[in-house]
Subunit: 139 residues, 4 copies
């Protein structure tokens, strides 16, 4: 699988005094869409693999804002796997509402092992998960 | 010590489309003031006590909002220790800006020991800390 | 109508370094449940009434935390109208997951008219809305 | 002026269950640093210019995360004006703590006029402000 779609509705707390969704919230929208994508593949974002926790810290994010989103808007979120590396995945995101494009983003997350008291250490993406993720065909 | 004062400036992200500080942010303002109070007594909010981490989960919070706060306002925050129990502390908070009262709040936090993989367990407030905290005289 | 139920799933960003949902997020969960309740009655939380915007600033909130919520938990949220006044509504909330009680809360919101450049002014709850809201029977 | 430095301390609410600062918070740290930079030049981020409000919506953001930040860390934040256009400013940011590099970011904000009920419209940066902002020399 290399594509996934989800929706979420803008909440009041997502907005700022400019009357629109605060730009930092799109970071959260991307992360949660990524977690739902992993779920759809049968993996929790905080999966335990043979007694070790894994996590996916971000190493790089970017977002371009094309049009503002407002309270109550239903966001159409499209996730695409742009690149699958040995330890990392780069996702692309498109946000729209009602046919209007809102934003496009890109996030690179690295699969890491968590051990108490130590910094996260990058590990290969678990095989069972890697086997279920494809890269999107280059356009 | 049973009183502590601090200040913080309202950030853009604290506001919502109503043009005022979102009510949930006062919860954060109270928590951070509490942490600065503990710091002033020489204790980190995530202190390690003989190899165990401690934490202060909240069991009860309340807040009354009297007047809205706006972007750029400098908030005067006054913390008072209302009650000190064996394991818990109840704090009172007053928020104002420029002499105008904004909100009053109350929070009860419980001193807990953290052990990996187990829920937090309440413990007596460490003696060295308890000795430095007084209850405010009842008014 | 005086009761409403909704669900939401805990997101990664809702958690803190204690490994549980940050207490301030329950404030957001309550607000959004309230907005969905108004929606179910046919009113947007930011309804326009004859050219004026209305809003529902909170004047009082309280919450008791009984058990921690974790990433991925599906929260069952139960809203009850405790009191309906001329301009205000007091809501009660119960949060649970998987049959375990997490938190109970109470929020009083006041119906206000917004005019540019002026502070919100309380107004009677619009009749069409008031007619659709009942108080819960006292238990 | 084309450089500005500020500091902020990581708050508990900035962290997530991974035990580190949530990546989305760096977006907020960048925005607030930008507002403090404008303040230092004598301009509020929500300045009124001859009866019209101005605002600075973001059109593009990016961030690379090099090392995690933790609760209580004091962040050293360095802002640089990379490009000053007619209506837009591109800022670069460097985050460190205790000599360790944490993250680097880039944000493009556009000067906009706000009129009630209409979407923000880009305008030239007010002259008095533009005169006080220099581009950093290309390195």
């Amino acid at each position: 699988m290399h594509e996934f779609r989800t929706r979420r509705r803008v909440e009041f707390v997502d907005t700022d005094m400019g009357g629109i969704v605060h730009f930092s919230r799109f970071m959260v929208f991307m992360e949660t869409a990524e977690h739902l994508f992993l779920d759809a593949l049968g993996f929790a974002a905080d999966e335990q693999i043979s007694d070790r926790g894994i996590a996916w810290p971000r190493v790089k994010v970017a977002c371009e804002y094309r049009s503002p989103a407002h309270f109550g808007d239903v966001l159409d979120i499209e996730l695409t796997v742009l690149r699958k590396g040995r330890s990392s995945i780069t996702y692309g995101f498109r946000f729209g509402t009602d046919g209007r494009e809102l934003a496009i983003g890109e996030v690179t997350a690295v699969c890491c092992e968590l051990a108490p008291g130590r910094p996260p250490r990058s590990i290969p993406i678990p095989e069972a998960l890697a086997a279920r993720i494809d890269e999107a065909p280059r356009g």
